[in-house]
């Protein structure tokens, strides 16, 4: 037990240091959106009922342990070297959840809104999901055919494998699954509602694009170090490398918004990309797998405004808004592609 306490003490120190620095103040655009909705409701003296389903959705996704996993502070290769047994490792994983501020905030919020029983149920679910994820990782190691990443299809052309790589990267970011939940919700509404409101679909498409937009600020976020080195060694222009990233992003977006409102969704998506290229090239926003992407607040607000504004504009003006957004995207691709080439250090 002394060993476990020593490890937990270190984790607590690492978490508290992270909280004290600005590194912890990073935002996901969707979280920002929900926070703004809650703020607007409270300011107008109303209960933020519209935000509640979105908060529940976030609570569900926060169950994924790696979105709030303090144990990740210790490199796996180091943790595996320490003389601690299997049971101790499981205990460590469960107890370390208690050091996560995200888990505590979520539990307290649920206790306040939904009651103690629901809050404890959430905590129990968090522990169960922790165990399932560990089992899934072991399965992926022992049986490579169970690893779904193998089934991501190849793309043609010289950028094909780069696009495939980027698609796989997107599948390890929780934002993709949040966007998928919105898409599935929208499809269910279209199919199951007796008279679905047509104006809902551009908004839903914009929500899907918003859910992905934070990742658009850091397209290389999972690849700092070795991955970036490989990109820099390839005889490709900067715009080609950015294009591979963007094609992966737009492929995911297209699949998710096609059943809702393709025009509005693509307009929002290319706008998010056009705006996000700047952060992608100039800000070192490192991302971690199986977490929500994090980005800059100001850029997030701008992306949010662009996603909704242009999506709704597309509904009233037709393809002109998509053409405008696409033109901005092409310009951004070429401009920041050059910036990538010049930014050699």
């Amino acid at each position: 037990m002394a060993r476990l306490f020593a490890i937990l003490k270190f984790i607590r120190l690492a978490v508290s240091r992270e909280l004290k620095t600005f590194e912890s103040i990073k935002f996901n655009n969707f979280f920002l959106f929900v926070a703004l909705m809650v703020y607007a409701s409270l300011k107008s003296g109303l209960e933020p009922q519209s935000a509640e389903p979105l908060l529940m959705l976030l609570g569900l996704l926060v169950l994924f342990p790696i979105s709030s996993d303090p144990l990740a502070k210790i490199p796996p290769s180091r943790l595996s070297l320490w003389p601690i047994g299997g049971r101790e490792r499981i205990l460590l994983r469960i107890v370390s959840l208690g050091l996560s501020p995200v888990v505590w905030i979520t539990v307290l919020l649920m206790w306040r809104k939904a009651g103690l029983t629901q809050a404890l149920t959430f905590l129990a679910l968090a522990v169960i999901v922790q165990c399932l994820v560990v089992l899934a990782n072991r399965l992926a190691i022992r049986g490579p055919r169970y690893n779904v990443m193998h089934y991501v299809p190849p793309f043609p052309g010289i950028l094909g494998e780069l696009i495939r790589n980027s698609l796989r990267e997107m599948l390890t970011i929780l934002d993709t699954y949040l966007a998928a939940l919105f898409s599935v919700g929208g499809i269910a509404y279209r199919l199951l509602s007796p008279r679905p409101n047509a104006t809902a679909f551009p908004v839903l498409s914009a929500l899907v694009a918003l859910a992905l937009s934070t990742y658009a600020q850091s397209l290389f976020g999972l690849e700092f170090g070795s991955g970036i080195t490989r990109y820099r060694l390839l005889p490709l222009r900067g715009w080609q490398i950015l294009l591979a990233k963007d094609i992966a992003f737009l492929s995911v977006l297209t699949v998710l918004v096609a059943p809702l409102d393709l025009g509005a969704g693509l307009t929002s998506g290319v706008a998010a990309l056009a705006l996000g290229h700047r952060s992608t090239i100039f800000s070192r926003l490192e991302q971690r797998r199986w977490r929500f992407a994090t980005g800059r607040v100001f850029m997030g607000v701008v992306q949010m405004a662009a996603c909704f504004g242009l999506a709704l504009g597309e509904r009233s003006t037709g393809p002109a808004m998509l053409v405008f957004a696409a033109s901005a995207w092409v310009g951004s691709l070429l401009w920041y592609g050059r910036a990538w080439e010049r930014k050699n250090d």
């Binding site: 193998h150 190849p154 780069l162 080195t229 490989r230 060694l233 005889p235 050699n344």
Partner: protein, 250 residues
């Protein structure tokens, strides 16, 4: 073979107040050259400058006729690189890496297939071919990086510690590979720490210390053994302070 030359003149790179590479000039045209020096001498920085991963503050670098700063795409087509961090994408398998590299360097499907097969066989990558790189051992990752460097048949090979982490069989294969390539006119320039390996493999060596080029010579022309010349520059630390490392613990 004109394309298989490395030329640099007055190469300088600073990081704040630290001059990592200090007015280095040399030319290599064919052969196998080892870059030696203690940790922190600037070897990896020099290699990154030659590969275009870093931009020099001063000086010129040419690979063949291509100025690395101006015509970097052309320069990159002529070089094969094993960088310090290996430059691998964790979300691709070994096979997919080779496919990516082949397509980007303009090889057709048959060439990619044929060359992949021969590299996999020579470097012993068959078992791990469909494994994602983040699940591979360090040695396998290193061999993959080497395969990527060789796939497009470069004129110049730039390698950061290619033998580090290689088992004896792979190390022998890499040695033969270097010899074969240099006999066909390629230039091979690698960072190494093992002096015995350098004397077996390389025909010439460059010694760096504190960012400067101390000497550049064919190994056959050295006046004293390589090890003596190395330790002239770098003093091995004593281990007296670690007297507590004792198996007979109380």
């Amino acid at each position: 073979m004109q394309n298989a030359t490395i030329y640099c003149r007055d190469l300088t790179k600073r990081f704040g107040n630290l001059i990592a590479v200090d007015r280095i000039s040399f030319e290599l045209a064919g052969g196998i050259c080892a870059l030696l020096g203690p940790n922190g001498a600037g070897k990896s920085t020099l290699l990154k400058l030659l590969t275009g991963l870093l931009r020099p503050d001063e000086g010129t670098i040419r690979i063949g006729s291509a100025d690395v700063s101006q015509h970097w795409v052309d320069a990159k087509r002529m070089i094969g690189v094993v960088p310090e961090d290996l430059g691998l994408l964790d979300s691709l398998t070994i096979k997919e890496h080779l496919e990516l590299s082949g397509r980007v360097y303009g090889l057709d499907k048959d060439q990619i297939r044929y060359r992949t097969e021969s590299l996999v066989q020579t470097l012993g990558l068959r078992e791990a071919l469909n494994t994602f790189l983040n699940k591979c051992s360090h040695g396998t990752r290193k061999k993959t990086a080497l395969a990527l460097a060789l796939l497009h048949n470069p004129y110049v090979l730039l390698l950061d510690e290619p033998f580090e982490g290689a088992d004896p069989v792979s190390a022998k294969a890499i040695q033969h590979l270097f010899t074969s390539m240099s006999q066909r006119g390629a230039t091979i320039f690698f960072v190494a720490h093992s002096l015995s390996l350098v004397t077996q493999v390389a025909s010439q060596a460059i010694m760096m210390h504190r960012g400067r080029l101390v000497w550049h010579s064919p190994l056959s022309a050295l006046s004293r053994p390589l090890g003596d010349m190395y330790f002239d520059l770098v003093e091995a630390p004593g281990v007296e302070a670690l007297h507590w490392l004792d198996c007979s613990r109380s």
